[in-house]
């Protein structure tokens, strides 16, 4: 005898619970109404980002619930010396019968920041997947066409040491400047943009490491570990290393982002990538390294610098604290520009190492300085020729 057990399944039912099935109060209210979009219509990016991280100054009526040992909770505004309008207003005090309402949204100028790259889940995975796919293909095509066989000994040394050592800059800044800063800004718009920046740097570090691995497999006497010694012992690298480490030691999150993306990257990162590697490689028969390094250059120039500028422009044009912010940013320039220029100069010996020389170091540095000056003036800040040529 056989018996069939009836499978137990939930039964679908027709509920007609779709939009438009009935008219009633709110039946057509189909946009998020707790924030004001930057443009006329809310963007998809804004909808998934704005107000996820709360602020007791407008909503959050019961306040932060868990604090550090000093009693401060959430995202203290004092974690940076910069201020956005509204920062000096006190947090509304709630107590018996106070009600819960705070200031109107947004209680602070910080909430006006929007990442011009509109980074969220969908965009960040799409972008980075495209980069890694493209890089993998480039390197693979080069491998198949035996492109590395054209490299001369000096260039092999150069790539294994100097291109290799840059991975450590990326990795260190990705983790200890950017990932670290994602805990510290007062809005979700800031912290998400910063965490995406972090992933760009960590990805670039890995791109270089894996490229280095391929080269050690493809080129007979390519020393895949030479980058380690270069990073720790080569005197030409110690200025860069010292500066990168100093960036990870900054407490103020705005200063950390500013010093890294506004000063260090244009004066050292772009100097190294655009004015050394990209220029020297073709002359030495290398058409692959520029594509690897170029991906990172694109990350910075087209995306990371873009959000950074939007973030600081808002602060230098703040309706309440523009002057306050500018004077602090000027002091950060005064502090970090000399350090970065010193590090750039320590880097100079690299320019004479390849057989086919890149354009002169001084020319590269001049171009880096010119671009840097423009970034600075776009932000409403000033840097004098004298400061740049000390």
């Amino acid at each position: 005898m056989t018996s069939t057990l009836e499978r137990s399944l939930p039964k679908p039912t027709f509920t007609d619970a779709e939009a438009g099935a009935k008219e009633f109060p709110d039946s057509n209210a189909r946009t998020f109404n707790y924030y004001t979009p930057q443009k006329r219509k809310p963007s998809h990016y804004e909808d998934v980002t704005v107000e996820v991280q709360p602020d007791p100054r407008h909503y959050l009526s019961q306040g932060w619930l868990y604090g550090f040992s000093d009693g401060r909770g959430g995202y203290p505004l004092e974690w940076t010396a910069l201020k956005a309008w509204g920062s000096d207003r006190p947090v509304p005090v709630r107590g018996p019968g106070s009600g819960g309402k705070g200031y109107d949204w947004p209680a602070l100028g910080w909430h006006e920041f929007r990442d011009p790259n509109e980074e969220w889940e969908l965009s960040l995975y799409r972008y980075n997947s495209n980069v890694v796919r493209q890089l993998t293909q480039n390197v693979e095509a080069a491998r198949q066409s035996k492109a590395f066989e054209q490299w001369n000994r000096n260039w092999i040394n150069f790539v294994e040491r100097h291109v290799g050592a840059w991975m450590h800059v990326d990795h260190g800044l990705g983790l200890y400047v950017f990932a670290n800063a994602n805990r510290r800004a007062p809005t979700n718009m800031h912290n998400n943009a910063i965490s995406v920046n972090s992933m760009h740097r960590i990805r670039s570090a890995q791109d270089l490491a894996l490229y280095n691995l391929t080269l050690s497999e493809e080129i007979a006497d390519f020393d895949g570990s030479a980058h380690l010694a270069t990073w720790s012992d080569d005197p030409a690298w110690q200025g860069v290393r010292r500066t990168a480490e100093a960036l990870t030691a900054i407490d103020d999150w705005c200063e950390a982002i500013f010093a890294t993306n506004v000063i260090f990257e244009p004066l050292i990162g772009e100097l190294f990538r655009s004015h050394l590697i990209q220029q020297a490689a073709p002359g030495n028969g290398d058409f692959v390294t520029p594509t690897v390094v170029g991906a990172e250059e694109y990350d910075f120039a087209e995306r990371d610098l873009r959000y950074t500028k939007a973030m600081f422009e808002l602060l230098t044009a703040d309706r309440e604290f523009a002057d306050h912010n500018k004077s602090i940013l000027q002091s950060w320039l005064a502090d970090w520009v000399p350090r970065c220029l010193l590090a750039a100069r320590t880097f100079q010996p690299l320019w004479s190492q390849p057989d086919a020389k890149p354009p002169r170091f001084e020319d590269g540095l001049d171009r880096a300085k010119t671009r840097f000056s423009r970034i600075v003036s776009d932000l409403g800040l000033t840097i004098t020729a004298e400061e740049l040529n000390k």
Binding site: P10, T13, F14, T15, A17, E18, A19, G20, A21, K22, P25, D26, A29, N33, Y34, V48, T49, V50, E51, Q53, P54, Y59, S61, Q62, W64, L65, Y66, F68, S69, G73, G95, P96, G97, G99, G100, L124, Y125, R126, N128, V132, M167, L175, Y176, A179, N182, R183, N192, S195, V196, S198, M199, A205, Q206, A209, L213, L228, S232, R242, E245, A246
Partner: protein, 550 residues
């Protein structure tokens, strides 16, 4: 990438970490734990070259399913009873996700093994993913589900509402206080390892049974990242265990984190699964059955107990007590009843229970009807405005509860309520374990040991205090839970969308003012308070007043 080249690639990226020679990275978060530096393996073994395309592929599936759901008119068959509770759940959950991202740097300086930091950074970006993918799901519900109210005001609602505040612990607990207590024990060892299964696996199954297959698509995709995070946590836990000095703190933190997660997550998810469903097949698992399987067996027996041999002191008593609460003391039923009692303070609609529901509850939880049946019949009777007030003001033998100062869920299992004077204020707690958390655990010393990095419980933890003496119409307006006609409430104690059947501010205006139990308690004389307490603990179940003393 082939497996072999993956392994080589992973090996290669180990070369990336380095020790500083000139400047130490900034140290911003303290801990009372100590860690020995030791060479460690990155437990995540994730290379971004394969990670990004893998996540992108997962996204394709999720967004493909979303398009399909809309084209296939999924919303013609979703149960409103279910989707209404998603107004609460999806208002809460993006914050815990993003807080988990923010928590990762708390570990950098405190766990001095750079090999682990790579995994923590990947977890960070995973969590950004979870937060925005969930916001996106909510947006899709708002655009396509019949009643967008409560979705459209989601994050303001969540931040102003007492239920949102309860849920917020599951986020703020990750990012403040002692760095290891927060980002390791509370977040990864307890919240992720124990409770994400009920959140992201049990709940989606229930969603599907209610005609919603988008929630499962999104949440299974989220859950597929979770095992990596659990490995992160495990690696840190083993390192903490290797130093004897940490054992006392681990014991403290496991007790606090376990109990708080139980109080918060079981309250919310238990209610969604038991009271938010229309699926009353007798063979579908109840929340208690799922809990027994996912949490008791898989987490407690298979994950925690084996750690005992490394010196971990496991809170066996609190694990048994959590089960006791769920199985014998009706914790989930008490919470659901309270949510329904206070429907007017919220931003979603709560469907009355029917005979079919009663039958299922009685089958799964024998004795349920005797305890809760009458009250739900009253809820049903009072659901459409008809000259009476909302149920909380009507005579249905329900004593409005005091709130637990620690977990902020009310003291619903009346017999367990504990009262104490802490920091100059008389406070009520839902259970001794919550009193201990406030008075003993979250303090700068613990069992005679200095714990200067331990966090604090802060904030206006009793919601009712804020509105003490207010008219209810003003309370709801102040929170912003009003629809676009300026009068109809977002919340309703039924699912009827006929505007004539819906409750409005006018109905609330004639109700008695809101009174804060805690403010009143602190106004009492010590004798009155003692009498109040001994009466309160004789009350219940189902919120019943204590029987008159003979």
């Amino acid at each position: 990438m082939s497996r072999q080249s993956m392994a080589k690639a992973h090996q290669k990226i180990q070369e990336l970490s380095w020790e500083p020679m000139y400047h130490q990275p900034v140290s911003q978060y303290g801990t009372d734990y100590t860690f020995q530096k030791a060479k460690k393996k990155d437990p995540l073994k994730q290379v971004l070259r394969s990670y990004f395309p893998m996540q992108e592929e997962k996204d394709h599936r999720v967004y493909g399913a979303s398009d399909g759901a809309i084209r296939g008119n999924m919303f013609r068959q979703v149960q409103e009873r279910w989707l209404e509770w998603q107004k609460l759940f999806l208002s809460i959950i993006p914050l815990p996700e993003i807080s988990a991202a923010r928590a990762m740097p708390l570990l950098f300086r405190n766990v001095p093994n750079p090999e682990l930091h790579n995994g923590q950074a990947i977890q960070m970006i995973d969590e950004v993913r979870h937060s925005t993918i969930q916001q996106n799901l909510k947006r899709l519900y708002m655009q396509n589900y019949i009643d967008p109210a409560g979705f459209n005001s989601s994050l303001r609602d969540f931040q102003n509402d007492y239920c949102g505040t309860i849920g917020r612990q599951f986020a703020e607990g990750f990012i403040t206080g002692d760095a290891i207590t927060a980002a390791s024990i509370y977040l990864t060892i307890v919240a992720e390892t124990a409770f994400t299964n009920t959140l992201f696996v049990a709940m989606p199954a229930e969603a599907a049974a209610n005609g919603d297959y988008l929630l499962p698509t999104v949440f299974h995709s989220v859950q597929s990242d979770e095992s990596r995070h659990i490995s992160n946590g495990y690696a840190t836990l083993l390192m903490a265990l290797s130093d004897e000095n940490n054992h006392q703190l681990l014991e403290r933190d496991l007790r606090y984190a376990w109990w708080n997660n139980h109080r918060v997550v079981d309250a919310a998810i238990g209610t969604f699964i038991e009271y938010g469903t229309k699926d009353r097949r007798k063979d579908r698992e109840s929340y208690a059955e799922m809990w027994r399987r996912w949490i008791y067996d898989d987490y407690y027996r298979s994950y925690l107990v084996p750690l005992e041999k490394y010196g971990l002191v496991i809170p066996h008593d609190l694990i048994e007590e959590a089960w006791n609460q769920i199985w014998n003391k009706g914790y989930v039923h008490e919470v659901a009843q309270f949510f329904a009692t206070g429907w007017l303070a919220n931003y979603w609609r709560i469907d009355p229970m029917t005979d079919k529901d009663f039958e299922w509850f009685e089958y799964k939880y024998p004795g349920w009807y005797d305890r809760y049946g009458k009250w739900w019949e009253n809820y049903n009777r009072l659901s459409v405005a008809n000259g009476h007030n909302p149920i909380v003001f009507e005579d249905v033998d329900y004593q409005y509860p005091h709130r637990c100062w620690t977990c902020m869920v009310p003291c619903l299992v009346r017999e367990d309520m504990v009262m104490d004077e802490v920091d100059g204020q008389v406070r009520t707690y839902c259970h001794e374990a919550c009193r201990w958390t406030d008075k003993v655990a979250f303090r700068p010393t613990y069992q005679g040991r200095e714990t200067p990095n331990m966090g604090q419980l802060i904030g206006s933890r009793e919601w009712e205090t804020l509105y003490h003496g207010w008219n209810w119409a003003d309370v709801v307006s102040d929170m912003g839970f009003v629809r676009d006609d300026g009068n109809t409430l977002v919340a309703q104690p039924h699912l009827n969308l006929d505007p004539k059947k819906m409750w409005t501010l006018d109905h609330l205006r004639r109700c008695p003012p809101l009174a804060s139990p805690n403010v009143l308690l602190n106004e009492m004389t010590p004798e009155e308070r003692t009498a109040f307490h001994s009466n309160y603990v004789r009350g219940g179940p189902a919120g019943r007043y204590a029987p008159a003393e003979v």
